[in-house]
């Protein structure tokens, strides 16, 4: 468990790694990189399974803006800690905005879970199918 918290949302498993900066619109939460296979999809409110965070170090700032705007994912699941995303969340908490739990999960564990499945993430670090 990287950043503990409780959350609920529908599973959105991105098909490729993404840079939040240049990849996600910080106001709407939509994927704006036309080269990304999930172009146009919104990550807002989802339990977001991220195959990797790449690219710009400005992604912390986009994470903060998503939390400030209320368009962040409900929770993030990823295989390896990514400090750039996490920092945006820590700063959001310092400034009194919302947070977004981040769990360390091998994404292959989600292979049997269809896209859109309603999931609950618990502060103990469990992912439960609802």
């Amino acid at each position: 468990m990287l950043i503990p918290g409780n959350a609920e949302g529908r599973l959105l498993r991105l098909q490729a790694p993404i840079s939040l900066w240049g990849g996600i619109d910080p106001v709407s939460g939509a994927v704006i990189d036309p080269r990304h296979p999930d172009y146009g999809v919104s990550i807002s409110g989802a339990v977001l399974a991220l195959p990797g965070a790449v690219g710009s170090s400005s992604s912390s700032a986009v994470m903060l803006e998503l939390l400030r705007e209320g368009t962040a994912p409900a929770a993030i699941l990823m295989a390896r800690a990514d400090a750039i995303l996490a920092i945006g969340i820590f700063v959001s908490v310092e400034l009194g905005y919302s947070m977004c739990p981040v769990l360390e999960v091998e994404l292959s564990a989600l292979d049997g879970t269809p896209q859109g499945t309603l999931l609950r993430v618990t502060s103990e670090g469990r992912v439960i199918r609802l």
Partner: protein, 420 residues
Amino acid sequence: MTLHLTTEERALLAGDHGEAVSLAMRILVSAAELLGAQALVRITSAHIDGCLYHGDGGVEFAEKLVATGGRVVVPTTLNVGALDLLHPDTVRADPSKLAMARRQMDAYVSMGAEPTFTCAPYQIGHQPAFGEQVAWGESNAIAFANSVLGARTERYGDFLDACCALAGRAPLHGLHIEQNRQATVVVDTTNVPDALKGQDVFYPVLGSWLGLEVGREVSVIIGLPSTVSRDQLKALGASAASTGAVALFHVVGVTPEAPSLDAVVSKTQSVDRIKLTADMVKGALKRLSTTNTVERIDAVAVGSPHFSITEFEVLLTLVRGRHMAIPFYACTARATLQELEVRGDLLQLQEAGVEIVTDTCVVVTPILRESEGVLMTNSGKFAHYAPSNTGYEVVYGSLEDCVESAATGLVARTEAIWSW
């Protein structure tokens, strides 16, 4: 594995030295714990990416640090902001956003950071020495500092870079530690013709492929000529850090940690070996352009990372005596602009229709005149980010191609170099 803090660090965290550094330490400690660091490491410089406006949260954070007495405690440079402070008409955004962007840049300057406003501080005299521990933000600068200079930084994003600068420390993890700097991927470029490897246009393509292929792994490239230039390495790293999370690559016989393959390849982890083929290179080249069918372009942008003085020398020889038919933007540091003025080159560039953008660049803030169109560039990083950040289609080509195309507004690209 727990994080050990010194007595001094505990005092900083507790607020004995003010609220700003205490806040910085809280974030630093959270990050260090998340990353599994067992200690913090003292740094000798910081490069802050956080002065670029992405929304009001970034302004609020910076101004909170200022209001609570925040000061940088190590030499600190600033990345691009969202404004060209020297050419105020360059950026086209509504006045309220421009005002917030200005506040964000000003906040970091008032904390004692140097107003360099460049993504390439390493080419205006800010070069950490081999082995120095630093905390740098901005993906291309991180790749350059680690790979080309042999300094040691992890990938520091917005906010954490500022926290490191205020605390003078960074989490001791990842690339700060020698053993993590060894390569787990060997890329063999011996199949690529020497003629292609001698061209600048090859390096963003190689970088773009590398980032997609290796993600965040440390790679070592063999088979590149020992004459590969700093500008070429800069372009390679910037491109690799756009498509992947590349923070360090080695080039055998060129970069300082790789006098030989043996010196840098991991002895403890499994190592992937990849022979670069023509198909891989052509695939990466194709991917850098979002369209390969257009005949007309609307603008050219170069200088991501910011143009160096040596890149301007080449540009000058290409544009001298000609006039660009469409907008031609060259993004650079204000320090480099000053050098152009001293040399007397600025006027010649302007007469040819080259518009110099300083302190910022065309993909981080609205500069292009229309909301859509076709942009041509020689930068792998511009090619990667322009479609999402500007709405423009992108055509990738060499600097020579960019100038030829801008002179008429019609795409002119030399394709022969890619055939083998």
